[in-house]
């Protein structure tokens, strides 16, 4: 157990070192819808046993992470009546009086050089027992990352579901110079909370549709830098990139297969927008759809055996599925007159998409339940698009417009909590939630 933990710790550490160049334009969190039923937790500031002060408030980061899931509500710091840092100092009765269900205490110890050790403990106040007691290695430069790791451990212990605090998001920003046609597009990768963003690519021509490889080490995306659309693949650790496709017409919607060996995409090389699969090992291209209407925005089923996609074959965009073995196609969305860019939940039971009702109006993010066929509307601003599901299936990130500014929104898949991630300047679009990093 200890070995396994050390392994995780070291690999995370290595990753953080590679991600050392950080951009200034982090995203800012604004919670727009809270959950009244959230479970109260208390996070006591971790005691720092070293010189000076730390550049991160570890307990504060954990507290914000837990609150952002909508499942938990952190007790405000001013309401803490005592500040225990270890089990012996915890008086259960005090925390029961504060109506707190769970408590986290901890301390950070300075080791040689920049190294540190974080000890923390999670308590169930009602049952008066310790649920988790661990020691995590780190250094002064990766405190935030360590806080995300501890958040993942606590979240998993309390919900039985893997946490997504150590995952990342990729997104595109565009900045227009005055009212000219001079745009600057940037592809970014940031922590799931919008912090620690760094620019992966800058271009004067449009960038869109970032798609993560299943090992979270590469991104495929669409770039217009050649004057036309082309799909590129870029390694995150090294920045190395290459052009994957250069076909006449559309080269869009790259979607990495769950086994990482194929990329589904939209090409119009045969005259019309159709879906193809590019086999990365032998560069073979197989055509999937054959229809004169638009077929685009492919996405893989979790088992990799079928693709869901948007097709205009009924007269307007609707969501379809094709079985890759039999070639059998079926229409999945019927409610509404615009259903597009589908994405499966990790368990395959729901499909998230951009939806507009039959009466027209708002473009919302909706979830189609594959068992009941019912559509649930999750977002409510007028122009929502690009839903991308977190790897644990608990949250969906999407793009929305506030006035004329594009920002990112996150909604829990149960619809109970919603928050926004605006950038300091420019439009933010095309978010893609990474797979788990370990």
């Amino acid at each position: 157990m200890i070995n396994a933990r050390h392994l995780i710790t070291t690999s995370l550490l290595a990753l953080v070192l590679l991600l050392s160049s950080l951009a200034q334009a982090d995203l800012i969190i604004r919670i727009t819808k809270g959950n009244d039923q959230a479970i109260p937790v208390a996070l006591v500031p971790f005691m720092w046993k070293g010189k000076g002060s730390l550049n991160e408030d570890v307990a504060g980061v954990i507290s914000a992470n837990l609150a952002r899931t909508g499942l938990f509500r952190a007790l405000p710091r001013e309401d803490l009546i005592s500040l225990p840092t270890k089990a012996e100092e915890v008086v259960y009765r005090d925390w029961r009086l504060l109506k707190v269900n769970y408590l986290v205490v901890g301390s950070i110890e300075a080791l040689e050089g920049k190294n540190i050790r974080i000890r923390y403990e999670l308590f169930d106040i009602n049952r008066q027992e310790s649920l988790l007691s661990e020691s995590v290695a780190g250094n002064l430069d990766n405190l935030r990352n360590r806080a995300h790791f501890i958040s993942d451990r606590i979240y998993e212990r309390l919900t039985g579901q893997k946490g997504i605090f150590s995952t990342r998001i990729a997104y595109i920003t565009s900045v227009q110079k005055g009212n000219t046609m001079d745009y600057t597009y940037r592809l970014h990768v940031a922590d799931a909370d919008g912090q620690k963003s760094r620019t992966i690519l800058t271009s004067k021509q449009p960038l869109l549709s970032p798609s993560w490889s299943p090992d979270a080490k590469k991104l495929a995306y669409v770039s217009f830098e050649t004057g036309r659309q082309a799909i590129f693949v870029q390694e995150l650790a090294t920045g190395k990139r290459y052009q994957l496709t250069n076909f006449k017409g559309l080269n869009g919607s790259p979607a990495w297969s769950p086994d990482g060996k194929k990329i589904a995409m939209t090409l119009s090389r045969d005259g019309n927008a159709e879906i193809y699969i590019y086999h990365l090992d032998d560069r073979r291209l197989t055509r999937v759809t054959h229809h004169y209407a638009i077929d685009t925005e492919p996405s893989w089923s979790p088992d990799g055996k079928s693709l869901i996609f948007t097709s205009g074959r009924s007269g307007g965009p609707q969501v379809y599925r094709i079985n890759l073995l039999s070639g059998e196609e079926s229409r999945l969305s019927f409610e509404g007159n615009y259903n597009a860019r589908p994405r499966y939940s990790p368990d395959g039971r729901e499909i998230f998409m951009v939806h507009r009702g039959s009466g027209g109006g708002l473009f919302s993010i909706a979830a189609l339940n594959m068992d009941t066929g019912r559509m649930r509307i999750l977002s409510t601003s007028p122009l929502d698009e690009s839903p991308s599901v977190a790897p644990n299936g608990a949250m969906v990130i999407y793009a929305l417009m506030i006035g004329e500014k594009g920002v990112l929104g996150v909604v829990s898949t149960d619809g109970r909590i919603q928050y926004e991630l605006p950038a300091a300047n420019g439009n933010v679009r095309e978010p893609a939630w990474s797979p788990y990093l370990n």
């Binding site: 559309l250 869009g252 927008a273 615009y338 007028p382």
Partner: protein, 181 residues
């Protein structure tokens, strides 16, 4: 004039049917539906008095211009589309005919047909829709006799709006194909 316009509608429908037939290996019933839909859309526009009138006066101006020279680059280089549609509105036939005449008179001229959409809907679907709009224009010009090597379609989808804003007026200005010589 009315007859000519209708003959163009049917010519367009015939081209669409041809293209549809080539691209499809599947449901012929749906192919038929699509063509009917395109023709209906054109007829609705043709029967609109205001639109027809505008087209007439544009045609008159065009005829004058033609008399001067086919070699002059047409002044209007953008045509507009309806939401989620890629069929050419009849009011723009004359604009396209002007470009066709220019391109045929200048075989060395090349044009990029840049397809665009409004910001509603998804970016990738809009890229495909923008290409479809560009393809409609390309097919129309080819039908008039323009050589395929003079034409290239590039779609920008919703990435390059002509007008900022979220009014229906702004949207209608963004659903377009631009001729970029």
């Amino acid at each position: 004039m009315e007859l000519m316009k209708h003959s163009k509608v049917f010519a367009l429908a015939a081209v669409l049917a041809l293209v549809a037939g080539c691209g499809s290996t599947g449901n012929t019933e749906e192919v038929a539906d699509e063509v009917t839909e395109e023709v209906v859309a054109e007829e609705v526009l043709s029967s609109d008095g205001a639109v027809a009138e505008a087209a007439d006066s544009a045609a008159a101006a065009e005829a004058e211009a033609n008399a001067a020279s086919d070699a002059i680059l047409p002044a209007i280089n953008t045509i507009y589309f309806d939401f989620d549609k890629s069929n050419i509105r009849s009011e723009f036939y004359d604009v396209l005919n002007g470009h066709a005449a220019y391109l045929m008179a200048n075989p060395s001229a090349k044009v990029k047909l840049e397809g665009h959409t409004d910001e509603r809907g998804t970016p990738e679907y809009n890229l495909a829709l923008g290409e479809r709009r560009g393809n409609s224009v390309q097919r129309y010009l080819s039908l008039q006799g323009v050589d395929a090597s003079q034409l290239e379609v590039v779609s920008y989808g919703e990435e390059r709006p002509a007008v900022r804003g979220q009014s229906s007026q702004a949207y209608s200005k963004n659903r377009r194909v631009e001729f970029n010589y």
